[in-house]
Amino acid sequence: MLSILTIVNLLMPILFHLADGGGNISLWESALQTGAFTFFLCTIFSVVVASDSVAGEFSWGTIKLLLIRPWSRSKILLSKYIAVVLFSLLCTVLLIIVSYGVSAIFFSGGMGGTMMGERIGPRYYLLIILCDYVDLFMTVALAFMLSAVFRASGLAIGLSLFIMFAKGIFNMLFNPERYSWAKFLPFMHMDLSQYLASSVGPGGVTLGFSILILAVYYVLFLAIAWTVFGKRDVAA
C-alpha cells in the first residue's frame, strides 16, 4: 500500500511536468495538486486498514486469542485504534515528503499562483493537507466503528468509501439552506478547507461550529465502537 502511494505520488509531478508546456506551474502548486490528488489514495488505504483492523481479527478467529490475554477489551481496542491512526499519519507524512520532494526536482520557482485569494506556498500547502487529514481522520473513525460493530471488513470498507464519495451528493440533497437541521450532519463539516476561502461555512455556520460538530461525531463513533466491542459475546 505504502509503495503504491509512493509511486502514484512520484508519478504525479512528472505528469504535471510533461503537461506543463510554458513553465506556468510552480513548485508548491505541483506539490499541492499532487498532494490533493493522492490524498484520496491515502484516505482509501487508511479506511481499508481501519476497516480490517477489528473485523479482520474476527474473520481470522485470532480475536479469541487476543481477548483471553490479561488485558481489558477497551485496551485491546485502543491499541488497535492507535495502530490505525499511526498508519494514517505515516501515509500522510510519506505523501508530504514525496509530493514536495519530487516536485522540487521537476519544478522551481517556489511560491507562485494564487488560490482562493491566498498565495500558494508552504503555509497554504500544509493547511490544505491538515484539512484533508481532518477529513481522513473522521472517515477512519467511522470505518473503525463500523469494523468494530459489524465485524465485517467488506461492509465497513464499502460504507466508509460510499460516505466519502457521496458526501457531495448528501450535501446537495440536505442543503442546510433548505433544511435547518442539516447543519448538524457531519458530512457538511468534514471538508474544512472551505474556511480557507471564507469564514462562513454551509448554512452560515462558523469554523468553531464545524469543529464542534466533528468532535461530537468523533466521540459518538468511538463511544459506539467501545461500547459494542466491550459488551459483545465473541462467538464463532
Binding site: W60, G61, I68
Partner: protein, 325 residues
C-alpha cells in the same frame, strides 16, 4: 493465592477414587450455577462444577451440548447470564485480568495469523504477557515438536501443526489452568498420543490443571482423571475414571463362551444368553467357581470375559440418542 492453586495429586487421587467428593483445597475453577441464555434459548443451564487442581479433567458431551459455550464463558469471551465462574478464586466477571492470567486456552480451532511465521505468532502473543523470554518460546516450541517448521509461515502448516502451535501459545506463560477445546481434532494418531503424554506430563510436573472438552469418548478415557458429562446444557454426571477401572472387587457381568449356553443357563439357574454367550453377574471367586461347575458338568468353556461397560456405553446410556437440542 499461589499456594491454593498448587496441585496435590495424591490427595485428590485417593478421595476421587473412593467416589467421595471432598473439598480439601480450593478448586482451580469453580462454576457456580452458570447459565447462558441467548434470547429465549438456554444454551447452558445452572452448571455447578468444581475442577480440582492437578488433574486432567474431561468435559464430555455430544455436539451442541454446550461445551464450547461453557468454555467461552470460562475465558470471558461470552458473558455469563446467571451465576459466576471463579478461576483461582478470581471471578472472571469482576476481576477478568487477575483471573485470565492463570489461563491458557485454545477455543475451537487454533487460529493464528497466517501471514506470520509460527515463531512470530508466538512472539506476538508473548508480548501480551509479562515475563516470557525468548528462551521460554524456544523451550515451548521444542516441547510441542515444531522446531523444524517454526520459521515457516503458518499458512503452510497442516491442521495438526496449527494445533501444536495453538498448544504452544496456550502454555507460554505457564498457566495454572490449560483449557483445550477439542484438542485432538485434526491430529494423527501419533500426534494424539504425543499430546496425551504431554498433557499428563504438564499435569504431573508443573501441576497444571488441564480442562479438555471432547466428544471422542475413547480419547477421554485414556487422557482424563475425571470427566464431567454435559447434555442439552445441563451437567448430568461427574465421575472419576479411575473409579470405573477400579471396580474389580465388586461383581461384574461375566461372559462365558461355551458350547450349549441355554443348558448352562438352566444348570446355573440364572444369567442371560446374549449373542451365544452366557452372561452372569459374579465376583472374582464366583467366576472361578462357576467355571469349575460348568467344566465338571461337561460343558466346553472356550473363554471367559468380563463385560466391561466402556465410557462410551455409559455415555450413550446416559445421553440416550437424543437429537441435538
Amino acid at each position: 493465592m499461589m499456594g491454593i492453586c498448587k496441585a496435590n495429586m495424591l490427595q485428590w487421587g485417593e478421595t476421587w477414587a473412593e467416589g467421595v467428593i471432598e473439598m480439601q483445597q480450593e478448586p482451580v475453577v469453580r462454576l457456580e450455577g452458570v447459565t447462558k441464555k441467548v434470547s429465549s434459548k438456554t444454551l447452558v443451564e445452572d452448571v455447578t462444577l468444581d475442577i480440582p487442581p492437578g488433574q486432567v479433567f474431561g468435559f464430555l458431551g455430544p455436539n451442541g451440548a454446550g461445551k464450547t459455550t461453557t468454555i467461552r464463558m470460562m475465558v470471558g469471551l461470552t458473558k455469563i447470564t446467571k451465576g459466576d465462574i471463579k478461576i483461582c478464586g478470581y471471578s472472571i466477571k469482576d476481576h477478568f485480568e487477575q483471573a485470565i492470567v492463570h489461563v491458557g486456552a485454545i477455543v475451537e480451532n487454533p487460529e493464528m495469523y497466517k501471514f506470520l511465521t509460527g515463531y512470530e505468532n508466538l512472539r506476538h502473543f508473548a508480548r501480551m504477557m509479562s515475563g516470557i523470554t525468548e528462551e521460554r518460546i524456544r523451550e515451548v516450541v521444542q516441547l510441542v515438536g515444531l522446531s523444524n517448521r517454526i520459521q515457516d509461515p503458518v499458512r503452510t502448516y497442516s491442521l495438526g501443526m496449527r494445533q501444536r502451535l495453538g498448544v504452544a501459545q496456550a502454555i507460554l506463560h505457564r498457566p495454572k489452568l490449560l483449557i483445550l477445546d477439542e484438542p485432538t481434532n485434526g491430529l494423527d494418531p501419533q500426534g494424539i498420543r504425543e499430546l496425551r503424554d504431554y498433557l499428563r506430563r504438564l499435569c504431573r510436573e508443573e501441576g497444571t490443571t488441564v480442562f479438555v472438552s471432547s466428544h471422542l469418548l475413547s480419547e477421554m478415557e485414556l487422557m482424563c482423571d475425571a470427566v464431567a458429562i454435559i447434555q442439552n446444557g445441563r451437567l448430568i454426571d461427574v465421575r472419576s475414571l479411575a473409579g470405573v477401572e477400579g471396580a474389580q472387587e465388586t461383581t461384574v457381568d461375566t461372559a462365558f463362551a461355551l458350547d450349549r449356553p441355554e443348558q448352562a443357563q438352566e444348570l446355573l439357574g440364572g444369567g442371560t444368553v446374549r449373542d451365544g454367550l452366557l452372561i452372569v453377574r459374579l465376583d472374582r471367586n464366583g467366576i472361578a467357581d462357576t467355571n469349575a461347575r460348568l467344566v465338571q458338568s461337561g460343558f466346553k468353556v472356550y473363554g471367559i470375559q468380563k463385560v466391561t461397560r466402556s465410557l462410551e456405553d455409559q455415555f450413550l446410556e446416559m445421553t440416550g440418542s437424543d437429537q441435538i437440542g
